[in-house]
Structure formats: structure tokens, C-alpha cells
Symmetry: C2
Subunit: 148 residues, 2 copies
DNA sequence: CAAGCACTTTACGTTAACGTAAACCTCGTC
DNA sequence: GACGAGGTTTACGTTAACGTAAAGTGCTTG
């Protein structure tokens, strides 16, 4: 994907335990995750993040950082922002959610799990395909080297 | 993903060995893979498939069917059509390709493999995340059941 | 206090991957 | 020979996920 292949080289964005209370600006987060501020604002607009405000400025807490990470991970797996939001917002409404909401959440989770399983299968097949082509390319190269 | 989640229930499109020589119309293929004819024509326009023509009509052979399957699999994994084409066309130019082309193909394959590995990791993490939420949702439900 | 940097909002632009509609062939069949 | 089912081309429309540009705010640093 132009999406995925352009994300070669993920940044290590682990945060020390004692930084649990740290906050970040939009620019800092953008650099951490190698996205633009625009992207982060867009996710907020779509209801995926809800940073604190101090005056005009957005302040991101650990909670927001985690959400962003989950969102980007979901994106790499091909999920739409709408689907990601569906899970994230329900996750939020959980402690206190009524039984119907919880049941619905379980359904959604089951769907996601199935989707992930399908992807695992796809990855397997794709890998075999790639290994196959790889083999044949190497053999073709060997034959070229021999005749030259 | 609207893409993926709308593809719940993949069709078994295995083809018996003695059907290796069979051909298909665009409509048949479309039904097999649960896409519209428009989609298949679009993939042709983008250089991913190149069916035979008899008069006006497109005739699809096993080779085309395989390509379509690979394309859709790639799509489910989030690859763009451009990336898929890059591999498919090089795969075609292989028997007879020069050394530079083959080397390039090996590079592309390596990239794809890395991308797949990243996706595997993402799936793992995502699964843990989902299992986690699932647990908490079930507990919340249990507590609700107890108090009622 | 001017300059610069990081942030803000608003709004229009862009790209990929098709959807959809119209208008036209070409069969087999009733 | 009308017609219905499948196919065809052409072309404009749509949606998601941002990119990009303009114009303004607020701090701090020389």
C-alpha cells in the first residue's frame, strides 16, 4: 500500500513509566508517529481522539497517544477510520455501559477477530507466493551468471 | 475496513484440475470473487489483468483468474493496485528478464516481505488489544448480571 | 519591537478505487 | 422480430483520507 510501504521504518515510541503523566504537543506526537499534524487533527475531527485544550492549543495525554497508536495500527491493517472509531468509542463507554452496549461491543470484537484471522491466512498465502517468485528469480539469475 | 468487513464469507473458488483449461466470462468471475464486473474491468485498465478478446467480449483464462485472486488478496492486505501491479508485471517479465530487472524484483519482494512482517506484528498486537477489551466487557457484564 | 517558531482555523484541492448511468451490440428463444 | 440476459464503451459522480494554502494567534529571543 502507498499507505503501508511509505511507513518503512517505524519509530520506537516507547515511553518510560515515569512519563505516564507527560503531555505532548501536536508536533511532538506527529514526529513520534511520522504523520503530519493535519492527520492528527483530522482524526480528532473524526472522533478518534479528544485532546485537552489549554486556550487554543491541544494538549495530548498518554490516553490520546495510545489512541493514536491504535488508530495507526488499525490503518496499517486496512481498517477504515469509521471501524476503528466504532471500537474505540465503545471501549470508552464501557465502564458504565449497559448490557446491550456491552453485547454489541462483544459482537464487534468478534467480527474484528474474524477479520484478523482472514488476514493471517492472506499473509500466509501471500508469503508463499512471494517465496515462490523469489526462488524462480534467483534461479533465473543463476542461469544468467552461468552463461556469461 | 469497509473493504474487508464487507467481504465477510469468502467464496470457495477452487477449480478442479481438469478445469485448468476452462475459461470464464466477466460475470462468472465477478460472481466467484464477489466483486462487480466494473471492478474487473478497472483492474484491466490499470494493467493488472489482460484477458483475451473474442470479438468484443473478454475471455478469462486460468492465468487471469489467478491474477485476479492475487490482486484481491493484496487489496485485503491494504496494498495499492500500483504496488500489486509492480510485482505482477515483473513476475510476468521474469522468464527472459535481464539481471537488473531480476535484481529489482528481488528488492521489491524483500520490501513486501518486510511489510508483511510488520503486519503480522500489528495483528498480534491488535489481537491482544481485542482480547483485553473482550475480557473487560465480559467482566462488566458479569457484574451487571449479579446486581440484577 | 520585530522576527521567528509553533500552533490555530477555514476552506478548497487531490488521489485511489471504484459506482452509476446512458447508449449501444449480440445472442438465443419465444 | 421483439425481447431479455449478458456483454461493451464512454464518461461523469462519489467517498475516504488526508494535502495544501492562507491568514491569524501567542510566546520568546535577539
Amino acid at each position: 500500500m502507498s499507505k503501508a510501504s511509505s511507513e518503512t521504518g517505524r519509530k520506537d515510541n516507547a515511553v518510560p513509566l515515569r512519563d505516564k503523566q507527560r503531555t505532548w504537543s501536536i508536533g511532538e506526537l506527529a514526529r513520534m508517529f511520522e504523520v503530519t499534524p493535519r492527520t492528527i487533527r483530522f482524526y480528532e475531527q473524526e472522533g478518534l481522539i479528544a485532546p485537552q485544550r489549554i486556550g487554543q492549543k491541544r494538549i495530548y495525554h498518554t490516553r490520546d497517544r495510545v489512541r493514536l497508536k491504535l488508530t495507526l495500527r488499525g490503518k496499517r491493517l486496512g481498517f477504515s477510520l469509521a471501524e476503528i472509531r466504532e471500537v474505540i468509542t465503545m471501549y470508552d463507554a464501557m465502564p458504565g455501559g449497559n448490557a446491550r452496549q456491552l453485547q454489541r461491543l462483544l459482537e464487534i470484537l468478534a467480527e474484528r477477530r474474524e477479520e484478523l484471522d482472514r488476514q493471517l491466512e492472506d499473509i500466509h498465502l501471500m508469503r508463499m507466493e512471494i517465496d515462490n517468485v523469489d526462488q524462480r528469480a534467483r534461479e533465473a539469475l543463476r542461469k544468467l551468471d552461468q552463461t556469461n
